[in-house]
């Protein structure tokens, strides 16, 4: 009897057809991609296929048989438990091991001596295994690699790490089978292609034919604030959220940032002290122990509600959860549906998700979301290509372990999607980068990171090897700063972009505490407890995530339906007074109109534009416009944006009228103008931060080790400007600009937006005061800078202003 049949009978479960299909395909020796929602046994669909393969082997080779890669540590624990239970229930000799950043040294040593049959791990840990001497032997009998939540990894540099790892593992064992598990995204076929690589044609796609019913309900305030201020509305809705929590068994409250999570946690407790003990907080900056506790308590049904971030987005199945609340814009449809799917796990159950807008205009997103779900509009995940930072890191990884032969590795990497277009010359540049630190013309050069011995590239310096292993975990989306009390006690970590906006003396709320920033030094923010009741909480507004183009289009459509009088849902009728106020003060644009508002205040001249295209596109558009307007006269702008529009602010009059007359929104010379705007703003410099960290340029020191590294610290900005000045053809620099094009400015999307606007009629209005549309942008704190004025002239102007005040 097949193991799957035996075990399902034991559980008194009936297998889904997609599970049987997957078992069949695996038995036939295929690789493939399984598209299935969470909560229907997708893990078992793959797992029993893998197990059966092992059991059917006549001669069972020792060592690693399968590798299961997940994006989250929490998830690996979950898979481990499931897999161990199966082995135990069926008394199999298939042992399961776990290898993540949390795995203890003694456990690692044990694994090194004898690997289990199945190893559950993360992308970083796979690379760390490849940084060990003798890794070839570890993987030589490997039969299966399973990549869980592939949709989540694809579109990130961790996805690129998977591509690289697979290219190596396939070379070690050409017979390797690769399976991915993915939720539904817009580009399923591409996702499969990237994962399976050159094996794609022989691979299969298995789709679970399960449709989840999702009901979206927007939580509306009693009265409508006509001048929405980001973040303000949300907390006022605490009174509406509490009854939802009390009426249900167990609720997950998703926020977009950990700060929002902290804020809501505090306010819920303050408003309803009876929640103490049954309300918990879960986000990526909290210690592993705390998170584990929360997850276990959720499983056991002990918690009434958990305020969380994307930390609970994925996989892990919490059966007691029957309600999900999304706080603030979910930014994308796929993400919203995934979160909705965290409730109602019983087959056939309806998933109910409440949407809590954080400012009035956001209310419209509830309407847009419902519409998008019923029309099944899913975003695509755009994969990274030509990520030289990850490639450089990978090459050093191989050099640290057994060393590598360049020709062989080049042939492997060009088979991946990410590096298929990398030329030999570019690959040689990477080799030069790790052996000579770039193009070195100097005899007195002392760069010895990777050395070449008999054609083999290797790291011989132990300090460099250690430095590399420690920095390998740095493929995360943003640079993190450690938060510590002045006395040294560790509190957690915070994204640098947030802290960089605070000044010493500012008070902020973190880890459930009010903290005063004392100083930021060497990647550490030193804080002290503050008695101040209200730590400032800046406008989080969904962090850095932009609105997806699908959702943006939906919003424009809903607004237009209001305009035409055809849209009649709860959200639109509620928003009516705000939209009418917009009409009164300025104008409510029709879908073939682009509204521009010009307002003069004490601060200077403001120009607001509303393309409704999402914040990244707005960032690019604003920079291009700034460049085009600056052709008329030397001018300095401060630029703010949200998902609906953007603002150009200057101390002098902005000649928007002249600019409109001379094709301000033309899609011609777009690429040229984009290049110019990237150089005149801070965009590229900021983008370079992650690249510098991954490529090993920014070294953050040895955690907890007494090694002097202070003299090795420099900011990524410094590297950026030095490369700009001395190594224009540096591939990391090129990569930075390419990423800006593709991911930040989203040039394809930007071009489409310009083309759309070209066909629109431009409506220029001069409102006397801010309109409901402009107010939330005006109150945005974070601003991009643009200037083509002479620095000296600006200093003198500011000085004169200073003297006047």
């Amino acid at each position: 009897m097949k193991a799957s049949k035996q075990w399902f009978e034991l559980q008194q479960w009936k297998a889904h057809s997609f599970q049987r299909e997957t078992w069949k395909q695996i038995a036939a020796g295929k690789s493939g991609l399984l598209n299935a929602p969470t909560g229907y046994g997708k893990t078992f669909a793959i797992w029993f296929g893998v197990l059966q393969h092992y059991l059917d082997q006549k001669k069972k080779p020792s060592g690693l048989h399968s590798l299961w890669i997940t994006p989250l540590r929490a998830l690996s624990k979950e898979i481990e438990n499931a897999a161990k239970k199966v082995s135990h229930d069926l008394s199999l000799d298939y042992t399961i091991g776990l290898r993540t950043g949390d795995t203890t040294l003694s456990e690692r040593a044990k694994q090194k001596k004898k690997m289990p049959q199945g190893l559950i791990t993360t992308p970083e840990s796979v690379h760390l295994l490849m940084a060990q001497k003798g890794y070839y032997d570890v993987f030589k009998n490997l039969q299966f690699v399973v990549v869980d939540e592939w949709h989540e990894l694809l579109g990130s540099k961790r996805g690129v790490q998977i591509e690289l790892a697979l290219s190596r593992l396939r070379a070690i064992n050409p017979d390797l089978k690769v399976w991915g598990i993915s939720a539904t995204i817009g580009n399923m076929e591409e996702a499969k292609e990237i994962l399976l690589g050159s094996e794609n044609e022989k691979g299969v796609m298995v789709r679970a034919d399960i449709k989840k019913k999702i009901v979206v309900e927007t939580v509306l305030p009693d009265t409508l604030e006509k001048f929405p201020w980001a973040g303000h509305l949300g907390l006022r809705l605490v009174d509406k959220v509490l009854p939802i929590i009390h009426a249900n068994k167990s609720t997950l409250l998703f926020t977009n940032t950990r700060f929002q999570a902290e804020t809501w946690y505090r306010h819920l407790l303050e408003t309803d002290p009876s929640l103490a003990g049954v309300l918990a907080l879960h986000h990526g900056s909290l210690g592993e122990e705390t998170r584990q506790w929360v997850e276990n308590a959720l499983h056991e049904g002990k918690l009434k509600a958990v305020v969380c971030t994307s930390s609970l987005d994925l996989g892990v199945d919490f059966r007691p959860v029957d309600t999900v609340i999304q706080i603030g814009s979910p930014k994308g449809i796929a993400r919203f549906m995934q979160r909705a799917g965290r409730s109602g796990h019983q087959p056939g159950a309806t998933s109910r998700i409440y949407f809590v807008p954080t400012h009035s205009l956001e209310i419209i997103e509830g309407s847009a979301m419902r519409y998008a779900i019923s029309n099944n509009k899913m975003e695509s995940r755009i994969p990274f290509i030509r990520s030289f930072d990850v490639l450089v890191q990978y090459l050093v990884t191989l050099a640290v372990s057994d060393g590598f032969e360049p020709k062989q590795i080049y042939n492997e990497i060009v088979k991946t999607h990410c590096y298929s277009s990398v030329t030999e010359a570019e690959f040689n540049w990477c080799l030069q980068f790790i052996t000579q630190g770039g193009k070195s013309l100097y005899a007195y050069d002392e760069f010895h990171k990777v050395v070449v011995e008999d054609g083999i590239y290797k790291v011989t310096n132990r300090k460099i090897a250690m430095q590399h292993r420690l920095s390998m975990g740095t493929i995360v989306s943003s640079t993190m700063l450690t938060v510590k009390f002045v006395s040294g006690k560790y509190l957690g970590s915070i994204e640098e972009w947030f802290l960089s906006r605070l000044k010493p003396g500012d008070v902020f709320w973190f880890a459930g505490k009010n903290l005063e920033l004392v100083r930021v030094k060497d990647m550490t923010a030193q804080v002290r407890p503050s008695k101040s009741k209200n730590g400032i909480i800046p406008s989080w507004e969904g962090g850095k995530m932009p609105l997806s183009s699908q959702l943006a289009a939906m919003i424009r459509e809903r607004l237009n339906e209001y305009y035409e009088g055809t849209g009649k849902d709860k959200e639109l009728s509620f928003l009516s007074p705000l939209l009418e106020e917009q009409k009164k003060r300025s104008v409510l644009p029709h879908e073939n109109e682009l509204l521009i508002e010009k307002i003069k205040t004490r601060e200077g001249c403001h120009v607001f534009v509303y393309p409704f295209e999402g914040r990244y596109v707005h960032e690019g558009m604003a920079a291009i416009m700034a460049n085009r307007i600056a052709l008329f006269k030397p001018i300095t702008f401060s630029i703010a944006m949200n998902d609906y529009g953007f603002e150009l602010l200057s101390d002098q009059d902005i000649p928007i009228e002249d600019a409109i007359d001379s094709d301000l929104f033309s899609s011609r010379h777009l690429v040229d103008d984009i290049t110019k705007s990237m150089n005149t703003t801070e965009m590229a410099r900021r983008r370079f931060r992650d690249i510098a960290a991954i490529a090993g340029l920014v070294f953050t020191g040895f955690p907890g080790k007494q090694i002097k590294t202070k003299h090795l610290q420099a900011s990524s900005k410094l590297f950026f400007s030095v490369f700009e000045d001395y190594e224009k053809d540096n591939l990391l620099l090129k990569e930075c600009y390419d990423e800006l094009y593709d991911f930040q400015l989203e040039v394809v999307r930007l071009r489409k937006a310009f083309e759309r606007i070209e066909k629109q009629k431009i409506v220029l209005k001069y409102p006397e005061r801010f309109s409901p549309f402009s107010f939330p942008i005006f109150t945005e704190r974070w601003r991009e800078k643009f200037s083509n004025e002479d620095i000296e002239a600006r200093v003198r102007k500011m000085k004169a202003q200073l003297e006047k005040d």
């Binding site: 460099i464 300095t636 101390d651 420099a714 900011s715 000085k799 202003q801 200073l802």
Partner: protein, 221 residues
Amino acid sequence: MMYEEQETQMQIKLLNTVVELLPEKALFLPDTNTLVIADIHFGKAMHFRKNGISIPPQSAERDYLRLNALIEKKQPARIIVLGDLFHSTHNSEWNLFCEFVAYRSGIRFMLVIGNHDILDRSYYRKLCLEVVENSLEIKDLILSHEPLKKVPEGMVNVAGHIHPGFTLQGRGRQNIKLPCFYMLPNQLILPAFGSLTGLYLLDRTMDSDIYVVTNDKVIEV
């Protein structure tokens, strides 16, 4: 033309000593024909490279060229480095500095030791570099690397170490960050000379005067 020439020089008086704040991020004492420079951090690029961090070695040259141009312009008899001359332990860039000093043999070089100057003293001796361990007095000025906590009565302390910068705010939510000379009643903090260094932003206080450095001007703000 005359007017512009004058403007590039910012002359102030520290007690009885006239000093020029130079846009090259250095201080000149005309009475003693002395150039004072803080925080050069020579050898930083090579130190990084020695530790496997690739930074183009050419980036080190810029500061030699800048220093050379400054010497041509002011023709000093003496150069005092206010600490952090060399970034870290010995590397080959030290040879470059030695060549530079040899080429400028007519100038008397002095180094007030800073926290980064951890080279063995014998390196300095070989170069005939005069080493000052703590502070150096020139009439009513007392020169040190780190700003003195207590400045002797009747003296002004000239120091480096801080890498001072200042953010100017303007209308329309504009701001510019620039290196600056930071003047307190009895203390003048010099901007860092080295281009591979960062800025530490200082606030204006009741008794501070701030002179920002743009590309080729020093402007009091």
